[in-house]
């Protein structure tokens, strides 16, 4: 049977071929030409610089917790502003729940930013493509961004998970950590940032030594480390080379008061939806409440210069940023300010007042009041009165910037007293801390709901 033999031979050949074919060369593919692997990126100094550049472009341009969300949600949650849009009604009334669809926005974006920093810190520690000095500088910048993201997170959600690893298998089940532990991490990150970063007063569109110091001063203040807060704010005020500007110049590109700003993206962003002071410009989202307008003292230049009604609208809005939509090719004169010197004065004032250095504190307050054409405060105020004066000064100085008013009311414990007086809010104490979004509770069984929001099944 020749034919049967042939058949057996074929079968044998088939089995043999099957074994040979496991050679993987046949499946070798080139990497996508629009993407790079981790190894390629971190073995060349130019691509390492680009990876660090992503900290700025991904955070400042693409991540709304940097240019948009804190103010967007907090101005309407506090006693500062109202809005006229259905989707924000729950924030106006402080009636958000774990199921509110936008309640997870800050959470998601903050952790995206934290992952970006975590990968960079890890990869930069491993790379040999750049000098140790550059490495420290870049890691410093990454740590600044991580610190800021955690700062925003805990001041909205309270205790949150603290992922410092890049392996999702390790980070996906982390439980909530106390705010105190996270403040320690923030402070440690900012100290590392100070160590690595350069002292520059001109490069305010980048993370510098002074930006790290300024945020560190804020972190100390929020963590109620008064002496450290005073020292750090003092360093920025005296050693940074910044100076208070007149009210009309505070938000300009040339302002010497700016410590950190997001540089306008004139040439790259289509339609220019976002630019300096986005929330400030969203009239409908930011109709200033009488609570704020009445808080200004008689003759306060900030009320006349930074608020007002335009185009015949029946309400007042924030006018800190005034440049109108300009043709695409003209130079913008304003940038989105993230940190400015006035805050350092008020941090120092508060830290000093807390330590009983009342007259020094009043001096700091007066520096800010003078700029607003207000008379100096009397020197015979009590500690409580000085602290209230700081709170009010912060209210009228920083409205529509980040979530300052909301955060201040929370950390000073005055939130119940202030917000329960507002008629169109149904204020409940537990609303000061946002609920953990339902989605996160579903996806991570180790997360517990925030107090007062009940267990989601």
């Amino acid at each position: 049977m020749i034919q049967q033999k042939t058949f057996i031979n074929i079968t044998l050949a088939a089995i043999l071929s099957c074994t040979i074919l496991s050679c993987d060369d046949l499946l070798d593919i080139n990497l996508p030409s629009d993407q790079l692997t981790v190894e390629t990126v971190f073995t060349d100094s130019a691509t390492v610089e680009s990876a660090v550049g992503a900290l700025y472009s991904q955070n400042f341009y693409m991540n709304p917790i940097y240019y948009y969300y804190p103010a967007y949600f907090a101005t309407v949650m506090s006693d500062e502003a109202k809005h006229d849009v259905v989707s924000l009604e729950v924030y106006n009334q402080n009636s958000y729940e774990a199921t509110t669809s936008s309640i997870g926005n800050i959470w998601e974006y903050a952790y995206q930013s934290i992952f970006l920093s975590n990968t960079l810190i890890r990869r930069l520690q491993e790379t040999t493509a750049i000098s140790e000095e550059r490495k420290k500088q870049f890691i410093g910048a990454a740590k600044y961004f991580r610190a800021y993201s955690f700062f925003v997170l805990i001041n909205f959600y309270g205790d949150v998970p603290l992922p410092l690893d890049i392996d999702y298998k390790k980070t996906m089940t982390l439980p909530r950590e106390s705010m105190a532990v996270i403040y320690e991490q923030i402070i440690a990150d900012l100290k590392d940032a100070e160590n690595g970063l350069v002292k520059s007063t001109n490069e305010t569109n980048k993370i510098t030594f002074h930006a790290a110091s300024a945020l560190l001063a804020r972190a100390y203040l929020y963590a109620e480390k008064w002496t450290e807060a005073e020292t750090k704010a003092n360093e920025v005020i005296t050693g940074g080379g910044f100076q208070l500007e007149t009210l009309d110049r505070v938000f300009l590109r040339s302002s010497k008061e700016t410590i950190l700003k997001i540089q306008d993206w004139r040439t790259s962003y289509i339609g220019r939806t976002y630019w300096g002071g986005y929330v400030c410009r969203l009239a409908n989202y930011n109709r200033l409440r009488d609570n704020l307008l009445n808080a200004f003292d008689e003759g306060d230049g900030r009320k006349t210069q930074w608020t007002g009604s335009i185009s015949g609208r029946e309400y007042n809005q924030c006018l800190k940023y005034v440049q109108t939509r300009t043709p695409l090719n003209t130079e913008l004169s304003e940038d989105h300010v993230m940190l400015r010197l006035a805050e350092q004065y008020l941090i120092r004032a508060e830290a000093r007042a807390q330590q009983g250095k009342l007259s020094d504190a009043i001096d700091d307050l007066n520096a800010i009041r003078k700029r607003a054409s207000l008379s100096p405060l009397s020197n015979i105020l009590s500690k409580e009165e000085v602290l209230l004066a700081v709170e009010k000064e912060r209210q009228v100085e920083f409205f529509s910037e980040e979530a300052h008013r909301w955060w201040d009311l929370k950390r000073t414990g005055r939130i119940d007293a202030v917000l329960s007086r507002i008629k169109d809010k149904q204020w409940e104490s537990h609303k000061a801390i946002w609920p953990i979004p339902e989605k996160e509770l579903n996806y991570n069984p180790n997360l517990t709901p925030s107090p007062g929001y009940g267990k989601i099944n």
Binding site: T6, S17, L27, T99, M172
Partner: protein, 930 residues
Amino acid sequence: MANIPLFFKTRKGFLLFLVLSSFTPFSIHATVNEKTGKKKKAIPVEETVSIGYGETLRSLSTSSITSVNTDNLEKMPGETVLSSLQGRVAGLLINENEEGGVNIQFRGQNSLVVDNTPLFIVDGAVFPVRFLSGSGAKLNPLSGVQSTDIEKIEILKDADATAIYGAKAANGVVMITTKKGSAGKTRVSAEGSVGFSRVTKRIDLLNVDEYLNIRQKALNLDGITPTEANAYDLLLWGNKYKTDWQKELLGNTARVYQGQLSVAGGNDYTSFSCGLGYYQTGLAIFDDNDDKYKRINARMSINHQSANKRFNLVMSTLYSSVKTVTTGLSPQSYIVTAPNQPLYDDKGSVYWIPDNSDFYNPLRFKSVYTENILNNILGNLSLRYEILTGLQAKIDLGYTKTFSNEFGSYGNGYLNPYANNSYKNQAYYGDSNSEVLSVEPQFNYSCIFGKGRLTALLGFTWQSAETEKSEFSVQDFPSEALFRDPASASVKNTIESSFGQYKYASVFSRLTYDFRNKYVINGIIRRDGSSRFAAGNQYGTFWSIGGAWLFSREKFFNIPFVSFAKLRGSYGATGNDQVGDFLFLETYTSTSYAYDETTGLYQDLLADPAFSWEVTKKAELALDLGFFKDKLIAAISLFDNRSNNLIVPYPLPSQTGFASLRTNLNEAKIQNRGLEIELSSTNISTKDFKWTSSFNISFLDNNLLEYPNLENSPYATSYEIGRSINLVRAYKYLGVDRETGVPLVQDTNGDGSITTDDKIFTDETDTRFYGGLFNTFKYKGFVLDVAITFVNQPYRLGWLNNYPYPVGYINKNVPRELAMNSWTPENPDAKYPGLATSYAATSERGYAYVYHYRQSDAAYSDASYIRLQNVGLTYMIPSKISGKVGIQNLRVYAKVQNLLTITGYDSWDPQTGNAVPPTQTFIFGAKLSF
């Protein structure tokens, strides 16, 4: 005598009454072989069928395969391959979608997210039906292959038929064979047709007076004083203007032209076949020219055989170019514009409301031009050599290249002149390319082994595919005449590009043993490697085992009217790797914007290196029967396919930095089971009159079979064990509040407020059954073809989903039936919710209409339908007459597509949903050959 399918709407069960009256036998069914013109006795059960790397006699096949031959395809000149298959094949559901693409689903949905498109093989080579999607249209590369170029199409369904294609075969295989030449006289045939098409569906909307009345009522009800801002339709327009938007936007009658020429011939050693075709049609939208869609095809094939017949060569090439032009307008969105909105202002320019920045005039789309040109080249070479008697070596080489260009421009007329526009005009440009190369050496061996015949196949595949795409957009041209010159634009916006590469290698073997033409057993094993997965997960083994028993050939079998009977069954495993390339890799990509002149690089994807293909295990049991000397042929198949290792974007908690991870759900299992019946019969056959019918019906049932810990998984609100994966979660609609007109929905958890927690699983959107009935009547020279298709899909999104405005909303017209039966204080028992001018939270009725009612089960409608898809009448001019002018064969024909649809669907069209309904087309043509 007729086949009358009577079916009852069913939710779950298969309830069908098929009434078949008697089939009276007259004579043996004979078909005319197109190639030779010779009449041969070709009983359909003895035709050959392609089985992937080979063919077999249909009677001996162990597989589930449906063939559609050239006769049926030629009835639809000008149509594309996929549309000509509509309703013809049991198990294959084809739906044209909104973007001009086609959704193909084969025996249900096997995957949660991975592409469910079948594998397409053209002349033996894999054809990349990866729907290239651009800025505008989704394109189907097969649209360039016209149905008249095709000899036959075979649809391979079960494991036995598909396992030979291994990791790509889970969704079935569609094999297309183009026309080849054969020995004999050179034959030339030419065909030409003209026709027109239009949208016949019209929605009965309010006229101007009725509209104004409803708006006024709504404003009164909401206690709003009309101003030019909140009621410009009442105050500015009133009854001064009258516009029929359906006529303006969808009323065009488009012309259709089609022509083709083919030549075939050859001698005993070499033969050829070639052809050219052209097709063009306009669109129903606006009233422009007739060349909105143009297609050119060319094909050529050569066969050669050596004198000793041991060597054989087949080379075939296909080229097509399809150009599609649109204005980017979705007319269905704008036909609800107020009937009193003017088209043009007094000066004859497109109308705008002075100082109103939110207003849109649909005519602005006249300033938009989008163009897409899709070119496709396909070349296949197949060489075969017989080494020894019974042993053949073969190599198939295939190459396919698809390239497309996109261009779109938005002129200044597109913009509202009173709005704060960030640009003057803009344009985008795109290019995409894909290339597939495949090499497939094979050995075929056939011998007598014991008392039967053994056939063995051993083959290898290596395939390499590359795709590339780039797109960019620019704005602010100094002149709109310069739109084709991007360099002249003053602002360059975005540039995007992507790149994919895919390689695939396998070895496969098939053994078939046929014992005395009565018992057939077939086994397939294939080992596949795919570059879409990381090293270590690249290889998988797929297999099947099938058998057939031709029990009508047994001596004991003695039922006189049953001429053929076969029981067959198969079981096996096939895979699906239709995911994007490189998904197992964590890569760095560039940021969209540069900060301080530095473009960033960041990791944009989390990858699971263990990620691998989906596996579908298919079981099938079938009965093939022939009655009355095969005048009635029936195939009844039961199948049960189960997919696991499902590829999903698995949701992660955000604290990982990402929303999801592309991975496999190892333990989840989806079941698709069904019943398919295919019948074809020669009902009457006399000298002058012949009537043939074919009928098919498919019943489908999809279930999520297993999903461990579903309640605590991210999918708890999407799926339920034991129900279809196309499950809808919606509010339960309770009716209208008599007092307020607010639509009420069920407060399921009883907490006093309506939140998404109150949504419940309502029903499934699956197609429950579908099929077609095709009849051909021949009387002397006349042939009448009638094609009817039907689909049962009782739960689809309807009108409410597409038009999310409460009745009474500014500048939105509504169907008369809806408007006249909406709640008002005078009509408290109305069927539909109350009038409202707003859907802000402050307007209770409007808010509930949009956020509760529209998201309730009331938004679903029964989209089942029966459609008279095609009616064609052909007259063959007797050769006595045509022969005088040297024409062998001359036919004239007239046909209508989409003549009539019976449906209870509440929106545009039950097939296309809320998109533009299919057009009704009349075509008149002639075909001659000599």
